[in-house]
Structure formats: structure tokens, C-alpha cells
């Protein structure tokens, strides 16, 4: 009996040790992240987590921030706006010190009110609808160029490649509709009108009806304003229906997974992107380290999606955490005044404007084989 009790006590001690091993201690900095690890945005969410993990391990390996380690608190929002509100509230309830994440404009537009109510610094690294930073939410920052920037760059490319017949297919969520409206306004200013505009829903699988309309309009370029996997399915089905238009899109299609889901159809897809490995030497060096670190991971490394998350933690949040510690108001004020270096920019050039929107350029890339390459002539 005594022997059994001793065994039980030992097992309970071991269990308690295991349960507390991965949890934060009082002096740790708790970094929350709300990302989709399931649903339509899973491929984006996993990449964001990889970017955060990489930055976090580098910071902790170098002794943490003023001796304090960072621990990550992950909340999966299942790519759903309603669940993203609950997920962010959970991070607030967990007493996290700041949140980096937020993928999908509809999700962020829904959950950012939680950050404002709680006074939680929230750095968005995966949503581009302009309303996220123009609605007066002082706790929400965004490190990505918004859709005004994407639409302008896409319109420049249309001009550069002399496309006259443009068709649009857009997701009916906040991301797709926002991008459609801004791009249409930009086209109108250039004196152009699309030959066809079609819509779809994120969960749609069959696009025959929309593509039949588009095929009849015979566009030279087809703007796909949405995210994977639907965007890749549209490309596959368009080619199957004999549509030969050049596919174009914004950062929603700048995801290396597009080459896996649509290996043939995505060839020469043009996308506006936040990151490209050839931007400068620091980008190249980071991408090489990132790809090496996650080569054996469950999800293959996708630098285009991981880079903004890495930059947000390592280059933007970490200096502010060093300066303001975990005082949330001081942290927010520090972020507002932050000037620093991001991939592809000279030191001190990157900063947030008065709406907490990061001012940084976009790159234009195209799919060639199994890689994104900078589009010749579009990145001067």
C-alpha cells in the first residue's frame, strides 16, 4: 500500500511538473496571438505562428527583454469573425501583455473592439482593409500596407503590361469587397472599366457560373481578390475552362501554398506583397535562416506570410518592450513613435502614421516555377 502511495505521489509530482513546464512565470512577458489554425486561413495562421516563434526564440536565446523571457499564448479563431472576438477576449482574460496577429479583415474588424475596450496593444500582421486603422481605434496598429496601396500598385501593373480588358472576381468578405471597391475606383480614375465583375463566398468550391461569365468577357487579366484555398481553386478551374487571362491579386494570393494548390494555373500569377527574399541582404539572410529552421515543420516554410509577423515582434515590438516594459499605455505610445528598420528599407525609414498604419512599400512579384520572383520593371 505504502509502495502504491509513493508511486501515486511520484506520478502526481511528475504531472504537476509537466503541467507547469510550459506555462509563464510572473516575470515573463506574455505575447498573445489570435490566428487561424483551422478553416480557410489555416495556411496563413501557421506561417504567422512560425514567424512569431522564430523571433521569440531569437529574443529569448539572447537573454530575453531586460532579462524577461517572452512566452507565446496562441488562440485559434478558426478563420471565423465571431470566434476571433472570443479568441481575442480569451487573450485579454489571460492577462497577456500585448497581442500580435489577426488574420483576415473581417476577423480583425470584428475583434479589434475587444483590444480597444481592454486597452490591449494589438499589432495586426494579416489584414489589409483600410477601415482597420481609420476607425479611430488607438490600440490597434497594422504593419501591413492597406488595400489602397495594393490597388494602386495593381493599377500600375495593369498600365505597365498594357492590359485593356480586366475582369474581377472577389470574395464577399470585408477583404474582397474592400479591395474590389478601391481597385474599381482606381481603375475609374485611369479611365478604365472592367469587362466583368463576379463574386464568390470564402467556402465556395465550384466557380463554374462565375467563370462562364468571365470566359465570355475574354479578359486579358483576371483580378482574384481573395485568399487561399478559394483563389487557387478559381485559378485551376479557370484554366480548365480555357480562360487564358493573366491572374493578378494582392497579398491574399502572395502565399507559397498557391504553387502547391495550383502548380500549373498559378504560373505567372502577379501579386502585390509585403515581403520578398530579394528585397535586400537582410531579407535574404532572414529567409535562409527561416527556411532552415522550419524545413522539417508540419507546414512548409512560407516566408511571404511569416516575415511580417517576425518583423512585428523582433523589429517593432521588442524595442518598445525593452523601453516601456509591459505598461500597456507606455507600450502603445512607444509603438506610435516607433521608427526603425524593416526588410527592404533603410534604417529609420519605417514608421506608423497618425492612424497607426505602418508606412512601408509593397513589392510586386510573379510566380515562376515554384518561387515568387520580383516582376521585372514593376519594382523601381
Amino acid at each position: 500500500m505504502t509502495h502504491r502511495l509513493a508511486l501515486l505521489a511520484g506520478a502526481l509530482t511528475l504531472l504537476a511538473t509537466m503541467l507547469t513546464a510550459g506555462t509563464a512565470s510572473a516575470q515573463d512577458i506574455k505575447l498573445g496571438t489570435v490566428i487561424p489554425l483551422s478553416g480557410a486561413g489555416a495556411s496563413y495562421g501557421a506561417s504567422i505562428q512560425q514567424g512569431l516563434d522564430m523571433a521569440l526564440h531569437e529574443i529569448n536565446a539572447a537573454g530575453g527583454i531586460n532579462g524577461r523571457k517572452i512566452v507565446l499564448d496562441v488562440a485559434d479563431d478558426a478563420s471565423d469573425p465571431a470566434q476571433s472576438v472570443i479568441a481575442l477576449q480569451r487573450l485579454v482574460n489571460d492577462n497577456d501583455d500585448l497581442v500580435i496577429g489577426g488574420w483576415g479583415s473581417s476577423q480583425v474588424l470584428a475583434n479589434m473592439a475587444v483590444a480597444e475596450r481592454a486597452g490591449m496593444p494589438y499589432i495586426v500582421v494579416g489584414a489589409s482593409n483600410p477601415r482597420i486603422t481609420t476607425s479611430g481605434n488607438k490600440w490597434t496598429f497594422r504593419t501591413l500596407t492597406n488595400d489602397n496601396g495594393h490597388a494602386a500598385r495593381l493599377a500600375q501593373v495593369v498600365d505597365l503590361l498594357h492590359f485593356k480588358k480586366i475582369a474581377i472576381i472577389y470574395d464577399t468578405n470585408d477583404y474582397g469587397v474592400g479591395l474590389r471597391d478601391i481597385f474599381l475606383a482606381t481603375l475609374t480614375r485611369q479611365g478604365m472599366k472592367p469587362v466583368d465583375v463576379e463574386s464568390y463566398q470564402t467556402s465556395d468550391k465550384d466557380f463554374t457560373a462565375q467563370l462562364t461569365h468571365i470566359a465570355a468577357a475574354e479578359p486579358e487579366a483576371l483580378m482574384v481578390f481573395g485568399t487561399l484555398p478559394a483563389a487557387a481553386a478559381i485559378m485551376n478551374q479557370a484554366r480548365d475552362q480555357g480562360i487564358e487571362a493573366r491572374f493578378m491579386g494582392a497579398a491574399g494570393v502572395s502565399n507559397e501554398a498557391v504553387m502547391k494548390l495550383a502548380p500549373q494555373a498559378s504560373q505567372h500569377l502577379i501579386a502585390t506583397a509585403y515581403f520578398h527574399v530579394d528585397e535586400d541582404a537582410t531579407a535574404r539572410d532572414w529567409a535562409a535562416r527561416y527556411e532552415q529552421q522550419f524545413a522539417q515543420a508540419n507546414q512548409a516554410p512560407r516566408p511571404s506570410q511569416a516575415a511580417p509577423a517576425y518583423e512585428a515582434l523582433k523589429l517593432i515590438a521588442a524595442p518598445c518592450l525593452a523601453q516601456a516594459a509591459t505598461d500597456k499605455d507606455k507600450l502603445r505610445l512607444c509603438l506610435k513613435d516607433w521608427h526603425g528598420k524593416l526588410f527592404g528599407l533603410p534604417p529609420g525609414d519605417a514608421h506608423f502614421d497618425h492612424t497607426n498604419q505602418l508606412i512601408a512599400p509593397l513589392v510586386v512579384e510573379e510566380v515562376v516555377g515554384t518561387e515568387f520572383k520580383l516582376l521585372p520593371g514593376a519594382n523601381q
Partner: protein, 287 residues
């Protein structure tokens, strides 16, 4: 243009018909609706992907393998899960929905991202009156015809088919005539699983494989079964084909925004106006 819509609609309609047949087979026998049917369809697609990638199986052996495995899984689940839910229709429906959620989330844990499905039916396309469609569509049509014909022959001319029909008609009397009712019910579930799983493999090359693949297909197949008559095999097939075609035409000529609405509007109207469906019959309640 119309040909493109008709081919696409017919292909989708065949899938609704096959998944709907799963509903019909179980309903005819048990008077209960298995709402996990959509997830069985999804699991069939994953099984097909696994067979194609791991063993490099060509289309026909792959379809056969998926059918056999799914039949066995259906029988086992009937024995282990469904049999414990026969107490009432409410319990059965909630249990089936719960099982569907478990299947879907189980796959989601292992496969959080969509995966491409190999072109097991060939990579080429056919041209027909201005329409361009993948070879997969032809396979969907042919396999659907073969499955429906096989089911018809089995139910009409074979001993086991007559036993299944006898149990569907009246289990107690069938038992007195020497039919092993439990085994017949198990075979019915196995058959419904096998048909849905084969439909999953058929549609794989057209879409990506993902855990949510069966959500909408399952609900629309149920709608198709109600449209045609959930206790009628022929009615369900006609309901599936009609729904697929109507969806394609409505999406093109009205709006893609209302494509899903159409299926559920049909479901509501049929339940209100003619709950037995187009070809279904009213089954009197025994007292």
C-alpha cells in the same frame, strides 16, 4: 455557354444524388436521418487521396478499395455507435450530427490545410458545344450510372437485396421470415457509407481535399433527397440531378450569391408543401 452550365450542374447533381442515396438507404430502413453523411463523403475523399498517393492506385481499383473500406467502416460504426442511438429519432439525429463533428474535427487536427487531389481520372479536357470540361465529369456521370444500375439489380434480383428491402419494409416480419435484421441494417449503413465515400473520390480531382468539404454537400444532398422523396431511390437520384442543374442555372442567370439559398429554399418549400417529396410515398404510422 449553356453546355458548360449543364455539364457542371449535372456533375454536381450526380454527387448530390449519390450522397443523397446514403440518406435514403438509411431512412428507408430505419426511418432515421444520418446527418454524418456529408462527413463520410469528406472522409472518402481523404481515403482516396491516401490510396492514390501512398499506393499510386489507378482510378477503378482506388474506387473499389475506398468502397470496400467504407462499407466495413459503416458496418462497424453501425455496430458500435448507431445501434446505441435507435431509441428515438431525436437521439439518433443528435448523435449522428455529433459523430459528423467528431469526424470533421478529427481530420482537421491532422490536415488543417486543404490539399490538392491527383488527377486520377486523367488530366485532359473534353470540348462539347463550346463547353470545356475535365475528364472527371465523364467519370462522375458513368460511375453514378453504374452505381445506380448495380443498386437496382442488387435490390431487385439478389437474395441480399430482397432481404434489405424486406427489412426496410417491415423489420419484424422480415425477422420472422428468417432475415438477420441486425446484419441487414449493418449492411445498409455499410452501403450508404460506401456510396458517399465513392462520391468523395469522384469529386476529389475537381476540388481540394479539406475537412469542411462535406459540410455543404451533406446538407444539399439531404435537400435533394427531400426534393425527390427521401424514401425513394429513384426520387433521390432525380432530386440530386435537379438540384445540381437548378443551382448551376440560378447561379449563372440570377446570381451566385443565391446559389446556396436555392437548395435550402427548395428544402423548406418541399417540407411545407409536399414532405414526402416528388416521388416519395406517405408511410402510414402504425399504432
Amino acid at each position: 455557354m449553356l453546355a458548360q452550365l449543364l455539364v457542371g450542374g449535372l456533375g454536381t447533381g450526380c454527387i448530390y444524388a449519390l450522397v443523397g442515396l446514403g440518406f435514403t438507404l438509411v431512412y428507408r430502413t430505419m426511418r432515421m436521418v444520418n446527418f454524418a453523411q456529408g462527413q463520410v463523403f469528406m472522409a472518402g475523399t481523404f481515403l482516396g487521396l491516401f490510396g492514390a498517393q501512398q499506393f499510386g492506385l489507378p482510378a477503378l481499383p482506388l474506387l473499389l478499395l475506398v468502397a470496400v473500406i467504407s462499407f466495413v467502416v459503416g458496418m462497424v460504426l453501425e455496430r458500435v455507435v448507431f445501434r446505441r442511438l435507435y431509441a428515438s429519432h431525436e437521439v439518433f439525429v443528435v448523435g449522428a450530427i455529433g459523430l459528423g463533428v467528431m469526424i470533421e474535427n478529427g481530420f482537421r487536427i491532422v490536415y488543417p490545410e486543404p490539399l490538392p487531389f491527383p488527377k486520377i481520372f486523367g488530366a485532359g479536357v473534353y470540348h462539347l458545344h463550346g463547353a470545356v470540361f475535365q475528364k472527371t465529369y465523364l467519370w462522375i456521370l458513368v460511375i453514378t450510372l453504374v452505381l445506380v444500375a448495380t443498386l437496382h439489380v442488387t435490390f431487385t434480383y439478389t437474395r441480399i437485396g430482397r432481404a434489405l428491402r424486406a427489412v426496410a419494409s417491415d423489420g419484424e416480419i422480415a425477422a420472422t421470415m428468417g432475415v438477420n435484421v441486425q446484419r441487414a441494417i449493418g449492411a445498409t449503413f455499410g452501403l450508404s457509407f460506401a456510396i458517399a465515400a465513392v462520391a468523395g473520390v469522384l469529386i476529389g480531382p475537381l476540388y481540394f481535399v479539406s475537412p469542411d468539404l462535406g459540410d455543404m454537400v451533406g446538407l444539399k444532398a439531404f435537400s435533394a433527397a427531400v426534393l425527390g422523396g427521401i424514401n425513394s431511390v429513384v426520387g433521390t437520384i432525380i432530386g440530386g440531378l435537379a438540384l445540381g442543374l437548378l443551382e448551376a442555372l440560378a447561379a449563372f442567370y440570377i446570381s451566385t450569391d443565391y446559389k446556396d439559398l436555392l437548395a435550402f429554399a427548395i428544402l423548406v418549400v418541399m417540407l411545407l408543401v409536399r414532405p414526402q417529396g416528388l416521388l416519395g410515398r406517405v408511410v402510414p404510422v402504425k399504432v
